[in-house]
Each structure stands twice: as structure tokens, then as C-alpha cells.
């Protein structure tokens, strides 16, 4: 479980401090797909980068099963990093390595497995994300969806306890997005990982959102599940959720079927 308590972060901008996160408090649960949603520029990526320790928060705590990342020593942080996997928006695969090279890389750096066992584990992860046969391909030879799957394979190679995904569906077609969502959801449930997915894709929210955290202009806007999100009395959230006609229709349909007239 990851707990974020009163997280604040600001940046220097032309000599001024611009506060991006205004004291966010949220909890992300084990074995669940936790989604951080919000409009572009709302502070989702900054929040995730603060949680994983790529940014240092100005104030607040980030607790990984009670361990505060903001006060950790370098050795403790290194230990924690081995428990974290991350899928970046652009996949962030190493260009000079093949799919196998990318997946086996964290194993080479951190595991105590023999070379044979490393290969076996890497192959297992590649098979798990359905990339069998692409082991010798370089990232530039893969489609966007395949790159994401390779990045997921690399992220799970060390059996992480925490998995972070920064906009995993950006640049993907709807069908491939569903494949990636389902893969992330399956992996989360299979291994009991605390998965945090940063997205603004409502299809993902409705497909796999078990615990949804809505961030609005750096503030915590709402917390709930995908089943609760349609009927929330929150203008900011509704503006975000019903930005597309498709979801407006869904809301209308649900209201009609709930009202006496609809029945």
C-alpha cells in the first residue's frame, strides 16, 4: 500500500515559485489498479514523479508500506527502487538494446540469478506480455503497442511490489489500449502488485479503475471507484468525465434506467 499525505510541490518559473501540487492526500491499495486521472496539466505526472522519488516534494510524506521515501537514506532508497517497476509514457526502452536486452537488463544489474536463470526469467516476462518471437528486435522495429508491452515486461522482470504507469495508452489505438489495460490489470491481480496508473483515458478508467484518484489543478478532486464515478455531484469531475459524447450518453442512459419514468 502506498499512502500520500499532504504532498506539496512547486517549481521555479521565471523567478517565481509556481505551486503544482497543493497538499494531496491519497491511498493506493495492494492488488488493485489505482488510477490517477485528471486533465492535461493538472499535476498527475508531477504527483507520480514525487511518489516514485524522481522529484523531491516540498512538503508531505509518501509512505511505501509505512516507509517514507522522502526521508530515506541513499541505501534505503536503492533498496526500495528494486521493488518498483515503471512504465513510462514513451516506453523509455533502451534504443541500443533488443527486447531481450531491455528485459534482462534489471536482472543483470540487481538479481543474484545465474545467467541461465536470468534468460529464463526474461523469456517468461516476454511470453507473459505476448511478445514471444520479438526477443531479437530493437525498439525501433516495434509498434507502439509492442513497445509498451516490452516496457511492461522490463518493469515486471524483478517481480516488483509497486508498478507505476505514466499514461500507458498515449499514442495507441483503442483496441491496443484495451490490450494494454487488460494486461496491466491481469498482472496486478496475479502478483498482488500495487499498481498506479496515471491516465486521462476514460476508457481505461471505466475498464480497470478499481480505485480512482481525480486530481484537479493540483488539488485532490475526488476519490472513488469506476462504479461511483457516473453519479458524483462534482462539477470539475463531471466536466472531465463527460467531455466526450459517448460518456454523456452513458450517463443519460443510466439516469433514465434509474428514474421511475425510465423503469
Amino acid at each position: 500500500m502506498i499512502e500520500v499525505k499532504n504532498l506539496k510541490k512547486s517549481f521555479d518559473e521565471d523567478g517565481h515559485r509556481r505551486e503544482v501540487l497543493h497538499g494531496i492526500t491519497a491511498t493506493f491499495y495492494d492488488g488493485k489498479t489505482n488510477l490517477i486521472i485528471g486533465q492535461s496539466g493538472s499535476g498527475k505526472t508531477v504527483l507520480v514523479k514525487n511518489i516514485v522519488g524522481l522529484f523531491k516534494p516540498d512538503e508531505g510524506q509518501v509512505l511505501y508500506d509505512g516507509r517514507d521515501i522522502t526521508t530515506m537514506t541513499t541505501a534505503q532508497l536503492k533498496q526500495l527502487r528494486n521493488e518498483i517497476g515503471m512504465l513510462f509514457q514513451g516506453s523509455a526502452l533502451f534504443d541500443s538494446e533488443t527486447v531481450m536486452g531491455n528485459v534482462i537488463f534489471p536482472l543483470k544489474m540487481f538479481s543474484t540469478l545465474s545467467e541461465e536463470e536470468q534468460l529464463e526469467r526474461a523469456q517468461f516476462c516476454i511470453d507473459r506480455v505476448n511478445l514471444t518471437g520479438s526477443e531479437a528486435k530493437y525498439p525501433s522495429e516495434l509498434s507502439g503497442g509492442m513497445q509498451k508491452r516490452a516496457a511492461i515486461a522490463r518493469a515486471i522482470a524483478l517481480n516488483p511490489k509497486y508498478l507505476f504507469c505514466d499514461e500507458p495508452n498515449s499514442g495507441l489505438d483503442p483496441k491496443t489500449s484495451i490490450v494494454i489495460d487488460e494486461l496491466l490489470s491481469d498482472i496486478t491481480h496475479e502478483y498482488g502488485i500495487t499498481t498506479i496508473i496515471n491516465t486521462h483515458d476514460m476508457n481505461s478508467v471505466m475498464g480497470i479503475g478499481e480505485n480512482i484518484v481525480f486530481v484537479n489543478r493540483g488539488h485532490l478532486g475526488w476519490v472513488g471507484t469506476k462504479d461511483e464515478i457516473y453519479d458524483v455531484d462534482n462539477d470539475e469531475l463531471n466536466n472531465f468525465v463527460y467531455a466526450t459524447d459517448l460518456f454523456r450518453d452513458v450517463r443519460l442512459y443510466r439516469r433514465e434506467h434509474r428514474s421511475p419514468r425510465g423503469k
Partner: protein, 249 residues
């Protein structure tokens, strides 16, 4: 404002060097990358070194012959002066200025691209010291291979002078060969090798710094690459003056 910004950048450079000069996490991985970098930065540059050195050696010989008309000067002065120019300045400083264009832009653009495509963030997330992992093999590789490149440059340049003597006959081959051997000071070779080590460090560390700290997209990577080459060249010239004063006077 400019001074404050420069000091800030210098502070960032020192911090990055401190991070990168740490003990590698996996020696096996380090040596693999170290050998790769030696090949990529050094061996791949040899064709360029051969071409440039051959022509510069030839040009030196021709120009010195054309400009030394005093009958009191011995004929072998052409070979001797060519050798001194090559040993003292061309094989180390000028060669490194040329290589900083190739190697510096290569390092800055490679690391800069890794930065903007979040590959460096991916290394950090895994718990790897990305500065050390990426920069140390490049710096160590270039520092190791640079003296060999300087020696190749010396030999090729002198051969270029020899070749022009054979082809054009502006100076007899025997006189040229006598010239390049006479009054030979061994220290000049060591001087060139010492300078090349410093320049190799400057090229790799400055280019690495500009690449590592780039922010933005492909335009910024291109700009960082250019800035890295310009700054490397300036620093090479500054350090050249200091080392010449310290080691030769």
C-alpha cells in the same frame, strides 16, 4: 546575472562529476560498456584521424618549405619544424579540437536523447546511478584510447610530410627524414600525451554534462550538442595554454 548563471552551471557540472566518478555497481557491465565506448569513440574515429593527419602533415611540409627561404637555414629545417608543430600542437590540441566535434556531439546527442525520451529516468527508477552508469565508461574509454589516437596522428602526419616529399620532391626524402629525427626531444611526445589525456576528459565530461542536463525535446538536444562542442573547444584552448606554460617553461 551571467556570472551567477555560469557559477550555477559550474556547480551542476561538479555535482554531476561527483556522481559519475563513483564505483560502478556491476564491474562486468562497466567493462562491457567501457570496451564498447573505446570502440565507438576511439576506433571509429581512426579513419577521420588518418585522413586529417595525412593532409595536415603534407600541408605543414609544403607551407614550411614555401616560407623558409633563408639560405642560412639548413634544408632539414623543413622536417624538423614539421615534426615540432605536429608533436607540440597538432597531434594533441588541434586533433582534439577536431575530435570534439565528432565525439562531443556524439556523446551529448546520445545522452540528451536518452534524457528527453526518459531512458535516464528509467535507469534512476531502477535504482541505478545513471550519471555513473552512462558517463563513467565514456570518460574512461576516451581517456584510455586518446593517447593511442595521438600516436597514430603523429605517425600519420609525419608520413604525410614524407609522402609529399616523395610525390613533389620539394625537399629530398633523405633531408626530410634527417630533419624529423634531428634534435629530437622525447619530452615533447610525453607533453602531447599528457595534454591529450586532459582533453579527452574535457571532451567527454563536458559533452556528457550538456547531454545529461538537457531539458525539452529534439531542438534542445541539438542545441546542447552544439553548446557541448563549443564549450569543449573553448576549454581545450584554455587548458592548452595553461599546460603549455606549466609543462614546457
Amino acid at each position: 546575472m551571467f556570472i551567477a548563471k555560469s557559477l550555477d552551471r559550474f556547480g551542476q557540472y561538479c555535482t554531476l562529476m561527483w556522481q559519475s566518478l563513483s564505483i560502478p555497481e556491476k564491474w562486468r557491465e562497466f567493462f562491457k560498456r567501457y570496451l564498447d565506448e573505446m570502440y565507438k569513440l576511439g576506433i571509429d574515429s581512426i579513419p577521420l584521424i588518418l585522413i586529417v593527419s595525412l593532409f595536415i602533415g603534407s600541408l605543414c611540409t609544403i607551407l614550411i618549405k614555401l616560407n623558409i627561404n633563408n639560405p642560412l637555414l639548413p634544408r632539414y629545417a623543413v622536417g624538423l619544424t614539421t615534426r615540432e608543430i605536429i608533436l607540440l600542437e597538432f597531434s594533441s590540441s588541434i586533433l582534439c579540437l577536431i575530435l570534439s566535434g565528432k565525439i562531443g556531439s556524439n556523446i551529448a546527442s546520445e545522452i540528451g536523447t536518452m534524457r528527453v525520451t526518459e531512458q535516464i529516468d528509467a535507469l534512476d527508477i531502477m535504482g541505478i546511478n545513471s550519471a555513473s552508469f552512462l558517463l563513467l565508461p565514456k570518460m574512461a574509454g576516451l581517456i584510455t584510447i586518446m593517447p593511442f589516437m595521438v600516436i597514430i596522428c603523429m605517425a600519420t602526419s609525419l608520413f604525410g610530410g614524407y609522402l609529399i616529399c616523395v610525390i613533389t620532391g620539394i625537399v629530398s626524402v633523405d633531408t626530410y627524414l634527417y630533419g624529423i629525427q634531428t634534435m629530437f626531444i622525447e619530452w615533447y611526445v610525453w607533453f602531447a600525451l599528457i595534454k591529450s589525456l586532459c582533453f579527452a576528459y574535457l571532451i567527454s565530461s563536458i559533452a556528457g554534462f550538456y547531454g545529461y542536463t538537457v531539458q525539452g525535446g529534439s531542438v534542445e538536444v541539438g542545441k546542447a550538442s552544439t553548446d557541448a562542442v563549443v564549450m569543449s573547444n573553448i576549454m581545450i584552448l584554455v587548458v592548452d595554454v595553461i599546460l603549455t606554460k606549466l609543462l614546457l617553461q
